[in-house]
Amino acid sequence: MGEFLINAGGPIPMIGFQIVSLIMFFAGIYGFFTRRNLIMILISVELILNAVDINFAVFNRYLYPDQMEGLFFALFGIAIAACETAVAIAIIINVYRNFGNADVDNIKHLKG
């Protein structure tokens, strides 16, 4: 594994990007599970999404350089993420207004 990491001078190997993406992904998963604040959970979700976007771009660039689907998919993912954030923030604001805080445990009161 060492020779991939210490490779000064040449182009960054694909595995390097993937390691970054992996770290981001599991950081996101960890945050999603452990945080109680909705804002923090939202940020974790964004981390997961970004990790996926990186993967798209990297696979496209390294494996199929003459095609563009991966890049477009990454752009698409970013757009969806933006929308999703807007909706999530709206929900969170409403949760805050109703419960006085943005704690995820409150939301279970919504079940029937």
Partner: protein
């Protein structure tokens, strides 16, 4: 003769106008609309009759005329239901009868129903009935006839239940509807069987005398009788239901709960003879291919007429007496059809049946309208509340007397000629039948004059309100209907309506006529002796045959038998187990499904904790597990 379409359209239009605008129209306006449209229809009918009987005779035989025929509904490759107008001697004769009686009832009701709540509704229903009845007689095919047949049933139901706040009227209307509907079920089955084998509904083809169309129906048999016999017998059951033949007569006496003019129009003159009309319409099939069914019709009619006449003697409600007399007279018509043959003198029964239908419609409508006039004056249906009315109501008295003489068969009134022809035809058939019907005719004279004397003579009741003669709108129809009642017998009916449609000149058989006149006079004399002056002789006689009198008074418990069969046997033995099966097995299965679902969902609802992060954990580890499985297995 396309203008005959307007005979249908005018009543339909006035039904729609009066019915839809009933809140906007005043009583007077709705009465005027109905009566005016009926006047037009009556004039059109008379003109049609004149035009038909003067022009449509070729080689001495009246031709059927299909004025209008359009395919309304296609059923399969060959079969189609048409809508059209058929003119032939009997339908034209019925046009005259229906329009005359209906117009008289419309005029009469202007006085009789004055100020009633629902006056507009009443007139719209009358128009609906007239429309349906006209459609029935003008039908070109048996299915069109069936459609209008049901429509007259509905109008009858609506009019019997006109006083819908009265429980008895509601019960009577339901009874009439259910009983006739039950009979109509057989009618429909009969139509379907007939059309299945012949591949046509059309009267023109069915009447053509072509035996080949019936060959498959005659060829296939079921329970020992050919399909054609079954079909024709089933169709007759439908006719028996509408015409109140035993044992389906139970609805007619109760139908007297409706307004009296309605009884005159529907339950005496027009709708109840629909069954007779049906048999007459299909007569060529009955006589040509199923004479045994025709004989059955004769026996049913003969039994019913005597049975109803006996009951009529014991009734005390004047409208019930008239109702049973109607049943009895329809029995006469059925007998006449049943004993008839096709050609010349042998076809006398057919002619006399139609003749009696015509004269009976006139004098029975007159009797009912007269009864309505009496009820209007004394506010009661019961004989005990009447008596001595001849002084107070001269017009009603004289017209009622004329009608009584006509139904009793006293010459020269109309009923004498037509009834005598029926008796002659019955004697042609067999002596037993002739004697049976002659006795019934004698009873008719007795019970009609019992009715007459009880109303107009007898004890002078102390009326709290002095009865007075009815207004002109009510006495005019009485006088008008008295004209055909007196002169109807002189109509050369054999020139218009006969079984083979050729000319027939009526010859009275004076032997039979003398016997029936003597019997009628004896009946009248007995009634005069018993009822003219108040006496206790009738009660003594009734007491001496107490059991029989009670049985007749209770109409031989036929209603009770029906109730026993429906309530005790059908409800208890069939409906109740079925209801139990439905409640416990069918519903139980569905309820079981629901409670099982409920039980399971209560057990598993803990999974849905609402804690998002817990869901995510489960999701993640689930994904990992599946991945691991895919990788390592």
């Amino acid at each position: 003769m396309e203008y005959t379409l307007f005979i249908l359209l005018f009543p339909l239009a006035s039904f729609l106008i009066v019915g839809l605008l009933s809140n906007k129209l005043s009583h007077k306006a709705s009465g005027l609309i109905g009566t005016t449209s009926l006047t037009v229809v009556t004039l059109l009918s008379y003109y049609t009759a004149w035009a038909y009987f003067t022009t449509q005779k070729i080689d001495g035989v009246y031709q059927s005329l299909t004025v209008l025929n359009t395919t309304w509904l296609r059923v399969g490759a060959n079969l189609h239901i048409d809508m059209g107008i058929l003119l032939d001697p009997i339908s034209v004769m019925m046009l005259v009868v229906i329009s005359t009686v209906s117009l008289m009832v419309h005029i009469y009701s202007l006085g009789y129903m004055k100020g009633e709540v629902g006056f507009q509704r009443y007139y719209s229903f009358l128009s609906l009935f007239t429309f349906s009845m006209m459609g029935l007689v003008l039908a070109t095919n048996i299915f069109q006839m069936y459609i209008f047949w049901e429509l007259v049933g509905v109008s009858s139901y609506l009019l019997i239940g006109f006083y819908y706040t009265k429980p008895a009227a509601i019960a009577a209307s339901k009874k009439a509807f259910i009983v006739t509907r039950f009979a109509d079920m057989f009618f429909l089955i009969g139509i379907l069987v007939l059309s299945y084998f012949t591949q046509t509904f059309d009267f023109g083809i069915l009447m053509s005398g072509d035996a080949s169309i019936f060959s498959s129906a005659i060829g296939s048999s079921f329970l020992g009788a050919s399909a054609l016999v079954w079909a024709m017998a089933l169709i007759f059951i439908g006719g028996a239901g509408k015409s109140a033949m035993f044992p389906l007569h139970i609805w007619l006496p109760d139908a007297m709960e409706g307004p009296t003019p309605v009884s005159a129009l529907i339950h005496a003159a027009t709708m109840v003879v629909a069954g007779v009309y049906l048999v007459a319409r299909l007569f060529p099939i009955y006589i040509g291919f199923t004479p045994e069914v025709l004989h059955g019709i004769a026996y049913v009619g003969a039994f019913t007429s005597l049975f109803a006449a006996i009951i009529a003697i014991a009734q005390t409600d004047i409208k019930r007496v008239l109702a049973f007399s109607t049943i009895s007279q329809i029995g006469f018509m059925m007998v006449a059809l049943g004993v008839s043959k096709l050609e010349g003198h042998e076809g006398l029964g057919y002619m006399s049946s139609m003749f009696h239908l015509f004269t009976h419609a006139m004098f029975k409508a007159l009797l009912f309208l007269g009864a309505g006039s009496i009820i209007h004056a004394v506010h009661s249906n019961e004989m005990k509340d009447m008596g001595g009315l001849r002084k107070y109501m001269p017009v009603t008295h004289w017209t009622f007397l004329i009608a009584c003489l006509a139904i009793a068969g006293i010459p020269p009134f109309s009923g004498f000629v037509s009834k005598d022809e029926i008796l002659t035809a019955a004697f042609h058939f067999s002596n037993g039948m002739g004697i049976w019907m002659t006795v019934t005719a004698g009873l008719t004279a007795f019970y009609m004059f019992r009715l007459y004397y009880n109303i107009f003579w007898g004890k002078a009741t102390n009326y709290t309100q002095i009865p007075h003669e009815s207004p002109v709108s009510m006495t005019f129809p009485l006088v008008f209907l008295a004209i055909p009642t007196v002169l109807g017998g002189f109509i050369p009916f054999g020139h218009f309506v006969t079984a083979d449609r050729a000319d027939y000149t009526i010859h009275l058989d004076w032997t039979i006529a003398t016997v029936s006149i003597v019997l009628a006079v004896v009946g009248i004399i007995i009634a005069t002796v018993l009822y003219r002056k108040p006496s206790d002789v009738p009660n003594r006689i009734a007491n001496s045959i107490r059991g029989f009198h009670q049985a007749a008074y209770h109409r031989f418990y036929i209603d009770e038998i029906y109730l026993f069969i429906t309530k005790k046997i059908i409800f208890n033995c069939v409906s109740r187990p079925l209801a139990w099966f439905d409640r416990h097995i069918v519903d139980g299965f569905i309820n079981g499904l629901a409670s099982a679902t409920d039980w399971v969902s209560i057990r598993i609802r803990g999974f849905q904790s609402g804690e998002i992060q817990w869901y995510a954990y489960v999701f993640l580890f689930g994904t990992l597990l599946i991945t691991a499985l895919l990788l390592f297995i």
